[in-house]
């Protein structure tokens, strides 16, 4: 008599975990797509390192692409929010305060991302002659590059936050028992990699080239956890009678 409903609620719990995991995985996937488009593809098409003339020319020639990059970044910003709230729903039962801490570390960076997008937009407007009309073309180019650089410096500093929220996420995943521990370790390593990248940029710019090679590590944890959430959801075999009691 008693076993029936208990088992049902156990199953229900696993199903709701699975659903939450899938939702989180889907938001993560969208965030990765938007990030790759805005930060990698558009940047690679527009920015010519060390060549301001070519870069500003690209911005005007591929204006729509540049605008799409800005819009994808704005979109990525609020997808990030949706993602962290989905992760919160999934992981709050592991450790409530830690899950809240994770959410806060994302909340504070959304507005930073927004302001950086604004700098990119301003850069375009300067080139299009919407503002700073009295400047000579060379000066306009200078100011446009200044705002583009603001965006880049900002992103380099923002990477601290891209990293730091991965630490509570990694700890929660590690302790969760329904996502493999190794993924938690990868996430923490990724968090440290992002932060090191940012600190190197600020403190030891000479080593930036060297450290940025490890940025692959930074995204590795994120890609793995995204794939796990999308494909596997949560481990159902982890729910042995002993452990389930803790959750219910």
């Amino acid at each position: 008599m008693e076993k029936g409903p208990k088992k049902n609620s156990m199953e229900q719990h696993i199903n709701s975990l699975k659903k939450n995991a899938r939702v989180a995985g889907l938001w993560y996937l969208l965030l990765v797509i938007v990030g790759i488009f805005g930060l990698l593809y558009v940047q690679s098409q527009i920015i010519v390192d060390g060549n301001a003339a070519a870069t500003t020319k690209n911005m005007l020639v591929h204006e729509f692409l540049f605008r799409a990059g800005i819009f994808s970044s704005v979109t990525g910003n609020f997808i990030f929010l949706l993602l962290v709230l989905a992760l919160y729903r999934l992981l709050k039962e592991v450790n409530g305060p830690q899950a809240k801490f994770m959410v806060v570390l994302v909340l504070v960076q959304v507005s930073i991302g927004f302001v950086l997008d604004l700098f990119n937009f301003t850069s375009l407007m300067i080139l299009k002659g919407d503002v700073l009309k009295s400047l000579t073309p060379a000066q306009k180019q200078d100011f446009a590059m200044l705002f583009l650089k603001f965006h880049d410096y900002g992103i380099a500093i923002l990477e601290v936050y891209w990293g730091i929220w991965l630490v509570p996420l990694g700890i929660l995943v590690y302790k969760s028992k329904f996502i493999p521990r190794i993924i938690g370790v990868l996430l923490i390593a990724g968090g440290i990699a992002y932060m090191s990248n940012s600190f190197t940029f600020l403190l030891f710019p000479a080593f930036e080239q060297f450290v940025s090679k490890f940025i692959v590590i930074a995204s590795l944890g994120e890609i793995v956890v995204m794939l796990w959430l999308l494909i596997k959801g949560v481990k159902s075999q982890a729910y042995k009678p002993g452990t389930i009691a803790e959750y219910l």
Binding site: F64, R67, A68, I70, F71, V74, F78, L81, L82, L85, R89, V103, L107, V108, V110, S111, I112, F114, V115, D117, L118, F121, T122, M125, I126, D130, V131, L132, K133, S134, L135, F143
Partner: protein, 235 residues
Amino acid sequence: MEDKTAALKKNARIAGWWYLITMVPSGYGLAYVRSKIIVEGNVAATINNILIHEFLFRTGIVSQFITAILFVLLASVLYRLLKQVNESQAKLMVAFVLVQVPMIFLIETFNITSLMILKGNVLEALQPGQKQDLATLFLNIHEYGTITLKVFWGLWLIPFGQLVYKSGFIPRLIGACLIIGGIGWVLDTFTFVLFPGYYSFVSRYTVLSGAIGELPIILWLLIKGVKVQKSAIAS
């Protein structure tokens, strides 16, 4: 049960008042001050207005700070009212409001910078023409920021509208209005960033959809509170 309905009614009234109060500084800064200062397409006149009506311009900046604070309070009152419908959706609504606060502060910093340039507080070595140009640049960054921010004005209305729709104690139509208003503001930013050629056309409709979205809920919260019978059944 009666206690619960009374509490619900009280929260609804409080939310209605906060909503109305939030609209006052917001409308003052974004509509009244703006209309007195900005002369579309005329940089010299705009700058002249800023210097002549300096105090008015400053009150416009302050009004946005106040709006930001009231907005947070409004979101938390609405959260209290609606969390019983769906807590994680209510949290999403609050999150979309919270992130706007630092954005508003930063955007206003650009307006202060613009004023300071004109008053000769910074960039003193520049020629008057160049000063005007840079002051306009910062004013424009403020404008771009305000329009881009509209995506968040819209985003919080979508979970808000869904919560109202599902609540059972506020008419569904009002929830639908909120969602329409929300989509309108999102489209506003979308058009501004991606298809600037259509912006002046689209923004006429999004202002309308914004009004359709938010006015009914304010009036309803203030006048009706919540539907008594229905909420009694729901609880």
